[in-house]
Symmetry: C2
Subunit: 548 residues, 2 copies
């Protein structure tokens, strides 16, 4: 069996037909959900691109692997999906974005050449790279945000789009009065991107995926990682005007949220992105474009599924559809992601397993508390391996797909390191104090903030919209104590004992005695009969044999 691990960037859990969106129809996402299981409580371990992806790729929590924010390198030697899957004989390929930053200093310390196969895999987060493009070619006074080569920009140039950065000037810009209308400006979000639809990012990556499958010898895992519907919010015709004002839902926000907000929440509500999304004209321009981008993703998924049916690869390929985090889009007075409201930290998670063992669950939805790190364990089991549970902290989801009811986690954890953001500056925090932790037990969701702040608490049973922060008063001290107990339990988890498996440790038990380490003998008479052979053996050596 192969694994097609498809990730969309910044796709909200509720912007799919199968998730109940009132206006956005996504028949191809819905079809995969019908073929498989849709997990309705899937949470990322950090609601930010880079950190979230490192959790997906290592199967470990952000504070276990340490790459806690965009641009924080993943430490050399940290094991990834590529390491684990190759151990089972499955290749592991990348098609698109990872947001991985290589640990160049660590690689140099270990003398790893970046152009060696080992070095390249270290630098590419364990993947073999079919094509890598992180899809964000912003440029400013300090140069490019991303200085890697851009295969997508090269593609556009080969198709005749001119300039150094056609990603910015065509794929992510419209035209207004014969001038480039930057997709960075929300007022331009309703314009058609200045590019042929088939040359835009989502169809281009889909073509690359088809080209990969065309030549791939199984078993393979392919991480198809789209940049969209991530900003800049602009989409080519015909998607640019499929949706309009009348399809834009009311912002889920409440004045209660602005009344004595948690200081960190308050700082985020005041940042530029939040201020922009608090304006109706921004939501009315952006959300139709965001929906258009998702509609294009759905059409391209349909194209991919059709290709796989024609080539008969669908029947032996597991398909996973998910996202690295959501998008506030003005809900909770915020834009972007970063915090732990459902719009940000909850993601779509749809898994199709072609094997008969999954027949009993096709088309169902499952509300188990799923963490994004569970996919790494799921893939290792799907590839026929044994999950190295001393390294991978997630749990295989295959039992759910088989219709079993496994014993499961009591709470989900997510983390956010905002040490490099303006909010940390505004709050006057040292980098190590600008860290947030979410604990969600299926009903209560707590946010703990380092740096001496009070927690935040929501009761999603009575307040599913997360408007009423119950930690503003002492009314829920007992619940907070319970949530803090779970966070403390998680804090004591065994996350770094990665060089010894549970099985290896069990095999070590008693081994030193059989190698003559006997610091308890008075005269030898302590040796129990059944151990005579073992210990007398050691003692005979110390008496006469000299060890030979």
């Amino acid at each position: 069996m192969n694994i097609l691990f498809i990730m969309y960037d910044q796709l909200r859990f509720d912007y799919l037909g199968c998730a109940g969106h009132p206006h956005l129809k996504t028949p191809h996402f819905d079809r995969v959900a019908e073929m498989g299981v849709r997990f309705t409580n899937a949470y990322v371990q950090s609601p930010i691109c880079g950190a979230s992806r490192m959790c997906f790729y290592t199967g470990r929590y952000a504070s276990s692997h340490g790459a806690q924010w965009n641009g924080f390198p993943l430490r050399v030697g940290e094991q990834t999906l590529g390491d684990h899957l190759r151990n089972t004989g499955m290749d592991c390929w990348l098609i698109g974005k990872t947001h991985m930053k290589a640990d160049a200093a660590g690689m140099a310390r270990l003398g790893l050449a970046p152009d060696s196969m080992i070095g390249a895999r270290q630098a590419e987060c364990g993947f073999d790279s079919w094509i890598r493009d992180d899809g964000l070619w912003a440029y400013g006074p300090d140069g490019y945000y991303d200085e890697k080569r851009s295969p997508y920009n090269e593609y556009l140039k080969s198709k005749g789009y001119d300039g150094e950065n056609p990603w910015a000037d065509y794929a992510n810009a419209g035209i207004s009065d014969d001038q480039i209308a930057s997709g960075w400006m929300f007022r331009n979000a309703d314009k058609p991107a200045n590019i042929c639809e088939e040359d835009s990012e989502t169809p281009w990556l889909t073509s690359e995926t088809i080209a990969f499958i065309e030549q791939a010898k199984g078993p393979w895992c392919a991480h198809v990682s789209y940049i969209k519907p991530h900003w800049p919010y602009i989409v080519p015709a015909p998607y640019h005007d499929m949706f309009g004002k009348n399809h834009v839902p009311q912002a889920k926000r409440h004045d209660l949220e602005r009344d004595n907000p948690h200081p960190v929440f308050g700082a985020y509500m005041e940042n530029r992105i939040a201020q922009a999304f608090q304006r109706d004209e921004v939501r009315e321009k952006v959300i139709p474009a965001y929906m258009g981008l998702i509609k294009q993703c759905d059409d391209q998924l349909g194209r991919l599924l059709a290709y796989m049916e024609e080539t008969d690869t669908l029947k032996d390929t597991m398909i996973v559809l998910t996202a690295d985090h959501g998008d506030y889009l003005g809900d909770h007075w915020l834009g972007e992601k970063d915090l732990f409201h459902e719009q940000s930290v909850k993601v779509p998670m749809i898994i199709f397993d072609p094997r008969d063992t999954a027949d009993s669950t096709r088309g169902i939805s499952c509300d188990a508390l799923v963490e994004s790190i569970d996919l790494a364990a799921t893939f290792v089991e799907a590839a026929g391996g044994v999950v190295p549970d001393h390294i991978i902290e997630g749990r295989s989801l295959l039992p759910w797909l088989r219709g079993e009811r496994p014993e499961w986690r009591e709470f989900a954890i997510s983390e956010y390191d905002y040490s490099a953001t303006p909010q940390a500056v505004k709050l006057g925090l040292n980098p190590r104090d600008a860290r947030l932790f979410m604990v969600f037990d299926g009903r209560y969701k707590m946010m703990h903030a380092e740096g001496g702040f009070r927690p935040m608490l929501f009761d999603l049973q009575n307040d599913p919209d997360e408007f009423d922060d119950l930690a503003k008063t002492d009314s829920h001290a007992d619940v907070l104590e319970w949530m803090y107990g779970m966070l403390a339990q998680w804090g004591r988890r065994m996350s770094q004992r990665v060089t010894r498996s549970e099985q290896e440790i069990i095999a070590m038990r008693g081994a030193s005695g059989r190698k003559g380490v006997l610091p308890f003998l008075y005269d030898g008479s302590e040796v129990p009969e059944e151990l005579t052979q073992t210990y007398r053996g050691a003692l005979r050596q110390t008496y006469t044999e000299g060890g030979d």
Copy 2:
């Protein structure tokens, strides 16, 4: 300045003259204490050889570096004293024991050749090896406990001691009726070791140290790591009969400890080592030998100090005297180490700094809560470097040596992973549940045990001998809550963000905006005046410049 980092194995904090031992005189230890500062509340981060040493050498807690017990490899790439000191231009040498187990699998994964310099340093815990001998050449039915080469055995053979393992047959055995009387048997502890005193382990390693200093070019750090007074408890003449029964203190144990003991403590009290040390004849044989071994260590320290005075190296060498853990010697009904009573987890810690900046503190003792991981930070500062506090979790002790009163930690942490021991089997625990945590705030000492057990709690102010476990009842629920709060705070520490320093993160703040990442613009008017250059720059590019 050079650093002479001397570690004794299993040396109890209170078996030194300067620590108030009634019978054991250690003038040379005492002299270094007079020249420097004696830290009277120094705790190791794990009371077991291998794990404790990995904490000393990385400056990190056991569950941060993951090498949590003897024989658990230190993960490849984990940075050590060698990495940090070489960054400052100081060499870092090993003379003696580390108990380091190389991460052979991880090195192979990264293609590191064990015989390359980088590979060798990875395998030797970051040290360049002047001489390495872990000093435990036990042999049994399954072969040698340690399969590395033993320079000490080679030395003995070169001196004419015969057999394959003269370590066992001469250095650690006596003679009785013309037969080797194994030092493994406590009944033989009062016999003189069957070896010339100058050929025994402690003088041999001291000679190696002198040979190292003879040729060393500064600045250097030398980790001189003696195996003694670690068992086998046997010492050559004249040390074998310097002490006798009348010098053996009463065992510090109380019937209260055997009344409904904590299950983990109970399991340890019942193991073979504990049972042996519960016998008076064992303590009366072993403790005089243990004292003789320490007396020999003191004499060899005197020899080393005399050499350094003659060669004038004392004036520019920092000297540190410490141990990896203690030895119960029958106190608390236990033998060996492993748990968190003072006899096991507290160690001697004496630091002599030759520089004038330390003149004001010579001869004082300091009761600050010191952790063994503090030495790594101390050495980096002493070598003129900046402590990488995103990697090293300890704190430099130099402010105390300068007579300052730095803001200091509220509690010390120690951990113990007994997953590979018979006690875990007896308690029916999975490896991941056989983990203990100590929190000590200077008055209360709590032990938390994973696996669903109650905690243990001692009040060292009212019960300095730690006989009365206050967690047997609910009487101290408030104290336990306070201690668990500290443990939870520690559990949330930032231990893996090792690829980005605090300074690098501060420098990252705002960087993406200057590279044109502007996901908040409606029409450009949001750009504040002072940022016009920055943002218009980015926008001009997206309008017309095409990024060139």
